[in-house]
Symmetry: C2
Subunit: 639 residues, 2 copies
């Protein structure tokens, strides 16, 4: 077995020191010799602290001059020039107190921080890390940093946040403090997290996973949290390994280690810690088929298809026909139905209508099911896309022959010469009904015999509350209401689900109750839906949007699903759907999140409206959001 | 004493019935004969309820046809034509259940409501009132109404809300239900409140006053809540009178009475109730000077003055010079200072410099103070506005003579020939320092002798949390971030303060600590300020913004103030200042609201940043808003 590193999974490993070296070049050389890709070091020497003037030791006019026109003495600086900039990140001076109760210290801290940021950008260090958020009030810290980072283009700014505070290993105060900070700074896209792994991990995995929804760009792994293996080499406990590998997989962060100043692990060399990190990165679990397919699509917002209004392109068919699972399931469903409906050795010819045949994959499924079940079938293949219809003609001429009759028509308008036993369609979207399968099948329902069936037989939409700074910022980047009221098809990566999905509504076919006369439905009112669902959330979280999924019963126990708990393994045709919320919603521990979701319709279109609310642990109402996408103003699907 | 009705205070009084009259024209005529200006009546007869089809009594196809193309039978309608439209409002059918758990009833209710709204608009009734919000869930009610009212242009839509629920006379569930509804509908400006006065009033006045911040357009006063006076006529108890008069004064609503079906008050006629309302309206307290001055400015958003960057117009001086109180206080301050500083009968000539003399009112104050105190003065009148300077020249030529020396200069740049004993300025804005008094007086400080003084001696900015749907909607109408990050000068009317103002910061002059050498200050860092203030809020409320005020010590105990509790009586030169919040903030009972407020500055400008947060009664963090106006991006005052 080779250990070739997948280049997309390369991980840069740095060495962090809090020592202020006089000769930082020498330190960098040594770190590189020991196998590190870069270093993290204080930007300035402790002598720079004089500018706080805590003991009034600085001459008054000198100090006043510094405040007016702050300038470094070259001896203040650890990084005195741009010489090492690509190989180093800086640490902000740890004595800077932007939320001091002393207004003079606050002011001088602000000037000093801006001076450090300015110098960092000047010499183009690749990053700058704030050593910690203040424990108490952080309003002024948020205000200063929110403004100061706007000048940072190349250099990345991060705030060091420990996974657990030593004083509070049961709770998640460090996340809460970070959350407060980024709320004040309005999810500023220039502020990242440098997440410090601690020797204790939170007991509940949710408290680890919530970091997947945060902008973690750097992970700090102190040498002190390593343990010795039986041979005396430093290794990480299994839970730490798993979490760091998950971060590597989802967040692709830089990793920063420290080397303990005293020999904690008998066989450790200065290289051991970074080597171990590289080892973990080389041994990430291999990508499965879906992951391979999804590469490049992670957290990318795609507008959902509008297959009724737009004709799909050949390439789109090409991609979806490659799904290894979906057509297996369709074949199985048709096969089971044929076995159930027709006696062995019968001469009965089952009429199957494939509505929306595309380039023919479902026709092939039906033909294979017919052969395998040894039941005779005749297939009508209906398609409205004139381009795809040419491909169908080719298939009929070359392969299918008389077993298949081609029909160029919109299923909502065609009058069939006779009725069918089985209606087969693949009209589902990520949310089940969002590509208007209900409306299409309403039109096709009159094709079905009195005892006929539809494959799929039913489909159900699911929703769950989701946190994702990345998705929120991707939507916010458009700076308009419209994009906050549009659902997107998204392969989730840097997300955290706050609770398991709950079902919203189901459509079943044929629908004999609402379309009793087998004619065209009078209107679309029967396809309106409304659902209120609730979720218990155990920990403090933030909610950015709603994740949507579907489950579909094709026939009896033959299902396809993208619901995380029942996902058809290996099926990649559908990514989840994401409904944004216009403002991030704070969810305190033990709160109840509820969604009110509508599927609405008029003569020309179908759309969703949604809102979310939060009730505290005592039932008190905490947040109610305005109803999103009123009357489909921002997003709709054309009929 | 005449009882002439001030035309601006005219109040329209209507008669409400829940009876469905076959001949509504006759009912209207009778109501008018009894002195009512209009009527409120159900729009449809109870027979229309058949469309809910609760007992499946309607033939299936008929019902399906109605759902598809809803049409009234003329016998369904109380208002069968547009004949009475200007003299009537309609009541929505009380059997409409938009949040029924039965999806069919929900759907038919929606169709019926839209049908009623459509008819109401067609016949141009002046208003349509929803009889009540549902007690439980109201998500679908909110969704339907939010969309349905968009077609209403002339006709006003209101939701009837009782002051107190009979079942909950201690709490404010009816306000909370309304609040939930309008949050879901995002403060929809087409949805108003028809506030029903109840026989019990909330014990705490705050629970009454919070309605002043709501869009109350109609007030319903049921005949049943009247009591009989000693002569047997129906009157209202004192607290009811006060509250209704307050509503008349602030909200200018239509008032709607009902006449009890049985004779509750011995001497009552059908006219008695409306006559009493008209009586209350005629006996509103007369407007005081400030109120008269403010007429037409209520809740109107004015951009604060930028007196450093822009020259004031003559008209602006004209208005402000008419303030009956402000110059009295200045005169008193100068008079006291002269008495304190100079022995009687002394020949000492006190040098007074009036910086920013405008058209000269402060010069006149000083001259009057001199005469009254029998102390000699010489006055320098400094002005940078070349237009105002002409008026000063006129005054010197015509009146002042040698007692006054005119100087055409910017106080930040002038070099005085000698120093003064008293520096007098009127540079305050609604928030105290917001028109850059600190920066201007820094520049003028070198004019002052070692033992000299400044009038004003100090000024303090105050802030308090404020609710006002009207102000929120006025800002929201601009549909941009900038207007939500700009403070406005506003004469408050339809507002409710959630708690009393707290001081933020103070500026004192002369400022010997920060500008020790009496030269120009090196920079403006000493005029930065930061303050965190907290407010306890007793009841559930919503917060739309921050009210700002100032108090100023002119000299010793001579003050001017626009702080509501210490407001200088009759002084109209300053309206309060209003800092919007970008989203309305829910404040649950016993919560703590906190503001973090900054006054910030660079070389060219001064600006404020602000944010608000809410902590629940157990200290748990509920809401944190992003910092507003980061780096003065939306609003600043030029230096």
């Amino acid at each position: 077995m080779t250990e070739a590193v997948d280049s997309s999974r390369f991980c840069s490993v740095g060495l962090l020191t809090t020592e202020c070296y006089d000769d930082v070049g020498n330190f960098i050389s040594q770190a590189e010799e020991a196998g590190h890709d870069f270093v993290v070091s204080p930007l300035t020497h402790p002598i720079f602290r004089r500018v706080l003037n805590e003991n009034k030791q600085v001459e008054k006019q000198t100090h006043a001059n510094w405040k007016d026109r702050p300038v470094f003495d070259r001896n203040d600086l650890v990084f005195k020039s741009a010489e090492w900039s690509t190989r180093a990140m800086g640490l902000v001076a740890n004595w800077i107190q932007l939320d001091s109760t002393d207004s003079e210290i606050r002011l001088c801290s602000e000037i000093a921080l801006r001076q450090e940021i300015d110098w960092t950008c000047h010499i183009s260090l690749s990053g700058l890390i704030l050593p910690a958020l203040p424990k108490g009030s952080l309003y002024n810290t948020a205000r200063v940093i929110n403004d100061a980072v706007k000048s940072m283009t190349y250099t990345q700014f991060a705030v060091r946040v420990p996974l657990l505070e030593k004083s509070n290993i049961q709770g998640n105060v460090s996340w809460k403090q970070w959350n407060r900070f980024r709320t004040l700074t309005e999810h500023n896209t220039k502020i990242h997290v440098a997440l410090e792994i601690t020797s204790e991990l939170p007991s509940d995995e949710k408290l680890l996973n919530l970091w997947l929804a945060e902008p973690v760009k750097t992970v700090i792994v102190p040498g002190e949290i390593f343990v010795s293996n039986s041979k005396g080499y430093p290794v990480l406990p299994k839970p730490h390994q798993r979490f760091i590998q998950k971060l590597m997989d989802k967040m692709k962060p830089d990793i920063v280690v420290t080397v303990p100043p005293t020999q904690l692990h008998k066989m450790a060399t200065p290289s051991s810690y970074s080597e171990y990190i590289n080892y973990l990165n080389r041994h990430l679990p291999p990508l499965n088929e879906v992951e391979q397919f999804a590469a490049g699509y992670h957290d990318y917002l795609q507008a959902p298809l509008q297959p009724l209004m737009d004709n799909l392109e050949n390439q789109t068919y090409e991609v979806f026909e490659k799904d290894p699972i979906k057509y297996q399931q369709y074949e199985k469903a048709v096969y089971q139905a044929l076995l159930d409906r027709v006696e062995p050795n019968s001469d009965y010819v089952t009429t199957i209508m494939v509505v929306g045949a595309g380039r023919g994959p479902l026709v092939n499924c039906c033909l294979r099911a017919s052969e395998k079940s040894e039941r005779k079938v005749h297939i009508y293949a209906l398609e409205k896309n004139h381009n795809a219809f040419v491909t169908l003609q080719n298939a009929k001429a070359d392969i299918w022959g008389d077993r298949v009759t081609l029909v160029f028509a919109d299923m909502r308008k065609w009058s069939p010469p006779s009725q069918c036993d089985i209606l087969v369609s693949e009209l589902l979207g990520s949310f089940g009904d969002n590509e208007l399968s209900p409306e299409c099948l309403d039109g096709a329902q009159k094709f079905i015999k009195e005892d006929g069936i539809s494959i799929p037989a039913s489909y159900t939409a699911f929703a769950s509350p989701l946190a994702s700074t990345r998705l929120h910022n991707n939507v916010a980047a458009y700076k308009d209401l419209e994009h906050f009221e549009t659902p997107y098809v998204v392969m989730f990566q840097q997300v955290c689900e706050l609770a398991s999905p709950e079902p919203l509504w189901t459509f079943a076919h044929p629908n004999k109750q609402d379309i009793p006369d087998r004619g065209d439905p009078l209107n679309n009112l029967h396809n309106k839906r409304y659902s209120h669902v609730e979720f218990k959330v155990k920990h403090d979280m933030v909610m950015h949007g709603i994740a949507g999924y579907f489950e579909s019963v094709l026939y009896k126990d033959v299902m396809i699903s993208i619901h995380p708990k029942t996902h058809s393994p290996g099926m990649f045709s559908w990514f989840p759907i994401y409904f944004p919320l216009r403002t991030p919603v704070q969810v305190p521990q033990n709160a109840t999140v509820s969604f009110d979701f509508w599927r609405l319709t008029d003569d020309k279109k179908v759309w969703y409206e949604w809102t979310a609310s939060v009730h505290g642990s005592h039932g008190e109402e905490m947040t109610v959001l305005p109803i999103h996408n009123v009357n489909g103003r921002s997003y709709w699907v054309g009929l």
